[in-house]
């Protein structure tokens, strides 16, 4: 009893605080920290399955897996670079698109609740089976229901000569890189729309949190709508752009090809060492990417408070 009395209030609060977070702390150490270490160990060795598939033995091989992955594995490098590139292309598109839509939805108009509900729908229906069915159905709707039986006839059956339009644009001297980016953006439109549900909601909330006095000042000073957007709205929602980028990267990465590849390597081909290394490397790349992006953006972020 005497010992307990000696605890100051702050010490006591520290202990209670630790108790509050203890379930998570134990879980983190037990599942994440331990698993990360195990993943690294797996990545540095060859695992052989014992009879019955219950146990395994590890033979340490050092960096052999690493070497194999980067010199002789047929697809890893391509898949890694392509999914990272996809991410780099997608993120600005998703962010711009969701800012744009949030601006549209910010003002009050009839049917706003309905539209917002629809935009959030893809977040609700993110199950794998449902996604696949939706992807199929998208083709179906594009090519008419009649195209369903013969699957060869897909989006091309709409009768629009896309080639013609492409050539039309390349004739007006748009730089090739920009042009390709635009084509990519248009062809991803559907996936971008479905990927930006949460982001739109976050931006709407951010827009509503901008104090209206700032807009009043801007109006009195004679700023146009364009100027108001760049000088008031954008700086005010800048911190949430960061949040949204992080969310988008995490969300995007979890569904990327490279993750799928490592999953398949582990559970289909049973090459545990290689698969673990794949997931580790891709994770490190994504973390580096996040650090670079966050670092550059947070320097330019303006915090109101």
């Amino acid at each position: 009893m005497k010992k307990k009395k000696k605890l100051t209030l702050s010490r006591k609060r520290a202990i209670v605080g630790l108790l509050f977070i203890s379930p998570w702390l134990i879980g983190f150490i037990l599942f994440y920290l331990r698993s990360l270490i195990m993943t690294i160990r797996f990545g540095m060795s060859v695992a052989t399955i014992e009879d019955g598939g219950v146990g395994y033995t590890l033979t340490y091989t050092g960096l052999a897996n690493f070497k194999e992955l980067f010199t002789s594995h047929p697809t890893f490098k391509q898949v890694l670079t392509s999914s990272m590139l996809d991410m780099v292309v997608d993120i600005p598109l998703i962010i711009f698109f969701s800012i744009f839509v949030a601006l549209l939805l910010n003002k009050k108009f009839k049917g706003r609740t309905f539209v917002r509900a629809v935009f959030f729908l893809p977040v609700i229906l993110n199950s794998e089976a449902i996604q696949q069915a939706i992807a199929l159905s998208t083709q179906l709707m594009g090519g008419g229901i009649a195209s369903a039986p013969d699957e060869i006839v897909s989006a091309t059956s709409t009768g629009v000569n896309i080639e013609y339009y492409l050539r039309l644009f390349s004739d007006i001297a748009i730089p090739d890189a920009v042009f390709l980016y635009i084509i990519g953006a248009v062809s991803r439109l559907s996936s971008i729309i479905t990927a930006s549900g949460v982001q739109i909601i976050i931006f709407i909330a951010a827009l509503q949190a901008v104090p209206s006095s700032l807009y009043e000042v801007a109006k009195i000073e004679g700023a146009t709508g364009y100027e108001t957007f760049w000088k008031v709205t954008l700086p005010m929602i800048m911190p949430l752009i960061l949040t949204n980028i992080v969310y988008t990267v995490v969300d995007n990465f979890a569904n990327s090809d490279v993750v799928q590849l490592s999953y398949n390597t582990i559970f289909m081909t049973k090459n545990y060492g290689l698969g673990s290394l794949m997931s580790l490397i891709s994770m490190i790349v994504v973390c580096l990417f996040l650090i670079i992006v966050c670092g550059t953006i947070s320097k330019k972020t303006f915090y109101y408070n």
């Binding site: 609060r13 520290a14 202990i15 209670v16 605080g17 630790l18 509050f20 977070i21 379930p23 998570w24 702390l25 879980g27 983190f28 037990l30 599942f31 994440y32 331990r34 990360l36 195990m38 219950v54 108009f109 609740t113 539209v115 917002r116 509900a117 629809v118 729908l121 609700i124 229906l125 993110n126 199950s127 794998e128 089976a129 449902i130 069915a133 159905s137 998208t138 179906l140 008419g144 229901i145 369903a148 039986p149 559907s190 729309i193 949460v198 976050i202 709407i204 909330a205 949040t243 992080v246 995490v250 979890a254 993750v259 490592s262 582990i266 545990y272 698969g275 997931s279 994504v286 996040l290």
Partner: protein, 330 residues
């Protein structure tokens, strides 16, 4: 000459006419507004169609009869609608039973998720302890690390579940929890379930935004810290509790990743059962045309997403408001 002179006078008059100028301005702003309205309408309808289009396709083709399906002129609106697809999908999914199991599983996980994550979030938001910043950094790491990186060790852990040698010491054997729902419950109980990191973050942000005076008052009145948390703070956190509850409910319901990893029976996880529905129907009911078997799959999907959509439509307004007000926006 005279005409031109007249015209000039007229124009001068118009220029000085305030009424006219005002009207002109009004018309311009009005037409600008109308144009903006039209622009917004077109864009929003277009985007809504992109989202709703496939869903409309799924719902409508789930009513197609064989003849409708063969008739290439039928688009969206079936000529001879049939409920046959639903009957068989209902039967093969064992719908009511699976849904009941699934809901029980998802709801109990949701309750655990809300209690644990809010506790941890509260701990981070209100108490000072050593290494707090580092530990909260680890929560962020947990959000960023995809679960895929650690799947294999987690799989192995539950294959031989023996933390610190406790189990083998007590019972003498090492249990294998794969194929049951236990791994999911254990993970969630220790704050490492499906997207737990995100929920902890949401709660943390929300509790940080609440005024400290509430707790101080409770403390002065003699309430302990746990009492304060359960009876006062949690009640105040209703908006974020609601958000997390619905997120957890919906994402857990849709989740196939953990279900596949732990090999949880499809009779408990309906989202796993739907992935095999097309094969089941093709093989058991001898429907050999894959495209027709797909119609049954569509009916099954409508059945599976129906509960989620109902929950969403009922709570939609509070849900989106919850996302807006609670932690995510910080």
């Amino acid at each position: 000459m005279d005409l031109i002179q007249n015209c000039k006078i007229e124009i001068e008059k118009l220029k000085n006419d305030k009424q006219f100028a005002n009207n002109r301005k009004k018309y311009i702003t009005k037409s600008k507004e109308a144009l903006f309205w039209l622009f917004r309408l077109i864009i929003l309808i277009g985007i809504c169609y992109v989202i709703l289009g496939p869903l409309i396709g799924i719902v409508s083709s789930s009513f197609f009869s064989d003849s409708d399906f063969a008739n290439k002129l039928v688009y969206i609106i079936p000529q001879n609608p049939t409920m046959e697809r639903y009957r068989l999908a209902w039967l093969r999914l064992d719908y009511l039973k699976t849904l009941g199991n699934s809901l029980a599983y998802v709801l109990s996980l949701m309750v655990i998720q809300v209690v644990i994550c809010s506790m941890v979030g509260y701990g981070f938001a209100r108490f000072n302890f050593p290494f707090k910043k580092l530990l909260f950094g680890l929560v962020i790491v947990m959000i960023v690390i995809p679960t895929h990186t650690v799947i294999l060790p987690i799989y192995v852990t539950f294959q031989k579940f023996n933390p610190l040698g406790l189990f083998s010491m007590l019972t003498g054997k090492v249990p294998n929890y794969l194929g049951t729902v236990k791994p999911m419950f254990i993970m969630t109980l220790f704050g490492c379930g499906l997207r737990s990191g995100l929920y902890i973050y949401i709660f943390n942000q929300f509790f940080r935004g609440l005024p400290k005076e509430i707790e101080e008052a409770a403390f002065v009145d003699g309430a302990g810290m746990w009492y304060t948390y359960f009876r006062i703070m949690l009640v105040n956190a209703i908006p974020s509790v609601l958000t997390v509850a619905i997120f957890s409910l919906v994402w857990q319901y849709n989740d196939t990743f953990f279900g596949n990893l732990f090999n949880i029976s499809p009779n408990i996880v309906i989202s796993r059962k739907i992935t095999t529905l097309q094969q089941t129907i093709a093989n058991v009911d001898r429907i050999m045309t894959p495209a027709i078997a797909r119609l049954y799959l569509y009916a099954g999907i409508v059945l599976v997403i129906l509960p989620v959509v109902i929950v969403y439509v009922l709570l939609q307004k509070r849900f989106i408001e919850g996302v807006e007000r609670s932690g995510i926006v910080g």
